[in-house]
Symmetry: C2
Subunit: 228 residues, 2 copies
């Protein structure tokens, strides 16, 4: 009868190594060397670390590029995905003008508080990340766009739109900012609310209607409970 020494699957040292590699990677943004793994996990011999790494690789927990220094990486979902940091330029509400992306301003140094991190895999493939910015919805005026107070809308800078795209527009007629689906018809422009139970608004082609951007994504964080 076959019996296994300690636990099947991941033993204590396996887990320790896995955790350390993950933490090290997060902190330094490059993988640890075999010797560093050994030191921090209480393994005195590099060959033993190598021994465990081999096993972890066979289990599919990590990937290794042999011969390459620090060629260890944790496989699968724990691995960090490729993200984009998108600056939050300001609020969007019915009564206030829309903030705009200023190409002359560098948002590179924006800290986390004024930006959102979005995985590239969630964005349309073609988006390189330039021209993207985010706005925070204030108030309930976007409810007809199925967008709530506190939602974050990720926008792509644009001054024109194709039919069926959701755009952020400044309606100087009503002195109002809004998010609507855009349709150019024969002699007018139709702005269609996302909520199918609501009626569209129509604008003459000659009327001033400033498209500020296209909506790429909406994020709603349900952080705190509704107080009703």
């Amino acid at each position: 009868m076959m019996m296994v020494r300690k636990s099947k699957g991941l033993g204590e040292r396996h887990q320790k190594i896995l955790d350390f590699v993950l933490a090290y990677q997060r902190e330094n943004r490059y993988p640890p060397s075999i010797r560093e793994i050994g030191e921090k996990t209480g393994i005195t011999s590099t060959s033993v670390v190598n021994y465990y790494l081999d096993q972890l690789e066979k289990m599919g927990k990590i990937e290794r590029d042999r011969k390459i220094s620090r060629g260890v990486r944790v496989a699968g979902p724990n691995a960090s995905a490729d993200t984009l940091r998108i600056p939050i330029l300001g609020p969007i509400a019915a009564g206030i003008p829309l903030p705009e992306l200023d190409p002359n301003v560098s948002y590179l140094n924006d800290n986390e508080a004024n930006a959102v991190d979005i995985a590239r895999s969630l964005l349309p493939a073609k988006e390189k990340g330039d021209n993207l910015y985010a706005l925070e919805v204030k108030g309930d005026s976007m409810i007809d766009a199925m967008i709530n107070d506190g939602d974050i809308v990720v926008m792509k800078q644009a001054s024109e739109a194709r039919n069926g795209e959701m755009v952020a527009v400044w309606l100087s007629r009503d002195n109002e900012a809004t998010l609507k689906y855009f349709f150019k018809e024969k002699d007018r422009i139709r702005l269609q609310p996302a909520n199918p139970t609501m009626k569209p608004q129509y604008y003459k082609k000659t009327e001033p209607l400033e498209i500020k951007g296209k909506v790429v994504m909406v994020i709603r964080k349900m952080d705190r409970p509704l107080a009703v």
Copy 2:
């Protein structure tokens, strides 16, 4: 009078190196060595690569850990944020039962197609990532929760809820799945739609009402235009 040879700031080689390091990092999940940078950017001497890396470091574009192999990392917002891969278990629609997170099943090998990557910074601080899963909304039945066809709802496994939290429940009375704000009142349970113009539903405390999870986040991708 002082004049600079080529362009001020980033020259062609600076940019080339920066781009390469970024791309390499993305692909291999560990940084390139000086020699690899040189080969791919057409620089034949390691000392020249070092020369440029020094400059990029002074400009604040990269950070280096000298003496450590592959100790280069791109600074600032281009750096990948810490993300969580959350499995998409299946659809959520009015008429079909809710998929559930099975603790016995490992979602570790889920590929990108069946999962979404979410930056930790977007989630409540306490979320470690266990017990999180996502559902894809099918149909318009969640409109009263301000949630559209195609939206992705990120959920946390739960069988109870506190007042004001949005929950996914299976209403066996109506044979229906729904997303509503949860309120426990004196002798009944109130399920409140997110859309303030809509009326709540009431349930006796004795009635079976299966809470399947709390809604943590809603993501709406505006990939393709509305066809209306």
